[in-house]
């Protein structure tokens, strides 16, 4: 039995151009994890329900397990690793001698919006896209906006608070 040949792809991931040779069946999530070693993107179900593998493709949140790596050819992909680095107040945070967390990530920490941390990258990616689209969401909008991301630890209450907190801080900072 011969397997379909791997094919070349070229895309931008976290601002850098990357190339790869991928089997057709390889998902975008597996490409990120296995080929690029960006293991912040997690696999919680691999059938499109849990949201742990959420990444941004051309600015929109998508499930990395429901997209083929080949389909990302030419796309702009941002993962949790890239969200951390592209912190909107990075300069300020560095100046304060603090970690390079984005405001959103800081709010997650300050409101204890993560426990085991497995859902966190997908949750942050989803929230990041949500705030980019809607800088002043209601609690209800936040809840619906992250309803495609399962969390088994926090009960979601602090996650919603953290996203609202980040939204407010981002608005005040703007």
């Amino acid at each position: 039995m011969s397997l379909p040949a791997a094919r070349p792809i070229r895309l931008r991931v976290n601002g850098e151009t990357v190339e790869g040779q991928v089997e057709p069946r390889l998902t975008l999530a597996d490409f990120l994890r296995e080929h690029l070693r960006l293991t912040g993107t997690h696999l919680g179900c691999e059938h499109g329900v849990c949201g742990a593998c959420t990444v941004l493709v051309d600015g929109r949140s998508v499930r990395g397990c429901l997209m083929l790596a080949l389909q990302a050819d030419g796309a702009e992909v941002v993962t949790i690793e890239g969200i951390a680095a592209r912190c909107p107040v990075r300069g300020e945070a560095v100046a304060r001698g603090e970690a390079t967390l984005s405001i959103l990530q800081e709010s997650f920490r300050d409101l204890h919006a993560l426990q085991c941390g497995f859902c966190t990258p997908g949750m942050v990616a989803t929230a990041h896209a949500l705030l980019a689209e809607n800088p002043a969401p209601s609690a209800e909008e936040v809840r619906l906006g992250i309803s495609g991301n399962l969390c088994r630890c926090t009960g979601y209450v602090p996650i919603v608070e953290a996203i609202l907190d980040a939204a407010q801080r981002l608005r005040e900072g703007a």
Binding site: P24, R25, H47, S61, R63, C65, M67, L144, S147, N149
Partner: protein, 294 residues
């Protein structure tokens, strides 16, 4: 949970796509947004030899109004694009109201109009909305294009009139007449789940608030979304109001071949249908406010 191996082709045009379908016949599967197909592949419930990806086919993602006031939407328009479109909000109130109920934002960011209609899940929102909106589906075969009203397109559980070499390319949503009202409700276990039962409907009211037309579609209850013709018949010519909503909704389960499955019995679905039809009618009559997705 990795899919079985498959070949992959990303045609740039419909003719290339048709050629691939012709070449591979039943071994090929069309890939649109992938939000239903990819899980099926991952679970190895299907293992096509080749995926024909429509994402790079030119011209399938247009969304525009016509001079006649119709709305044309390409099959590869993402659900999220429908949700955010001012044109949809302005011209197709039912579609605009229903789209936020579909799954979750990540799914809507990839999932497509054509993919949902072709997949024909009986509990999906878009087939029902297309039927209630009297939309027409545009289907391209190797030998030409045909059009079919949405209500005639769905033939059974995950079944449509699409021939193996046909591709759904777009949907025409007819201009929304003055006096047309809509209602949309569904009961699901969680927000974003497929509906246990849902109702999408439009009613046309004359200036005296008499019902002159009605399309009442119940989805999730049977093997396809179905027109509740007895409800429609009971509405026509009657004055819009709470008594009419209650009386007409009482016919919602007439002839309904309700299915039972893991999450709900046929009996429960038959009980839900009239309740939800009544509530959707009250929305349409302006007697209750639509609720945001939950």
């Amino acid at each position: 949970m990795k899919a079985a191996a498959f070949e992959y082709a990303a045609p740039r045009s419909l003719s290339e796509a048709h050629a691939l379908l012709r070449e591979h016949g039943e071994d090929a599967r069309l890939l649109a947004g992938g939000q239903s197909l990819m899980p099926v592949l991952a679970l190895r419930l299907a293992s096509p030899a080749i995926l024909v990806d429509l994402n790079r086919v030119a011209g399938l993602d247009e969304l525009r109004g016509t001079s006649a006031g119709d709305l044309l939407t390409g099959a590869m328009v993402r659900t999220r694009t429908l949700e955010l479109s001012a044109e949809v909000a302005r011209t197709q109130p039912l579609l605009h109201a229903a789209v936020p109920w579909i799954a979750h934002v990540q799914i809507r960011n990839r999932g497509t109009l054509g993919g949902s209609l072709s997949h024909a899940d009986p509990a999906a929102e878009l087939p029902a909305v297309a039927m209630a909106s009297d939309a027409t589906l545009i289907i391209a075969g190797a030998r030409g294009t045909r059009e079919q009203p949405a209500h005639a397109f769905f033939t059974g559980l995950f079944g449509t009139t699409l021939a193996p070499d046909e591709i759904l390319t777009g949907v025409r949503w007819p201009a929304w007449p003055t006096g047309r009202r809509h209602g949309f409700v569904e009961v699901a276990r969680r927000h974003g789940d497929y509906a246990i039962v849902g109702v999408a409907l439009t009613v046309d009211l004359d200036p005296d608030r008499l019902v002159t037309g009605a399309r009442v579609v119940v989805f999730g209850a049977a093997d396809t979304a179905v027109r509740a013709s007895a409800v429609e018949a009971a509405l026509i010519g009657q004055p819009a109001g709470e008594p009419l909503a209650a009386a007409a909704a009482g016919h919602a389960s007439d002839g309904l071949d309700a299915r039972g499955d893991l999450q709900a019995s046929a009996e429960y679905r038959r009980e839900l249908a009239p309740v939800l039809v009544r509530r959707a009618l009250l929305q349409a009559f302006g007697l209750s406010a639509p609720r945001a997705p939950r």
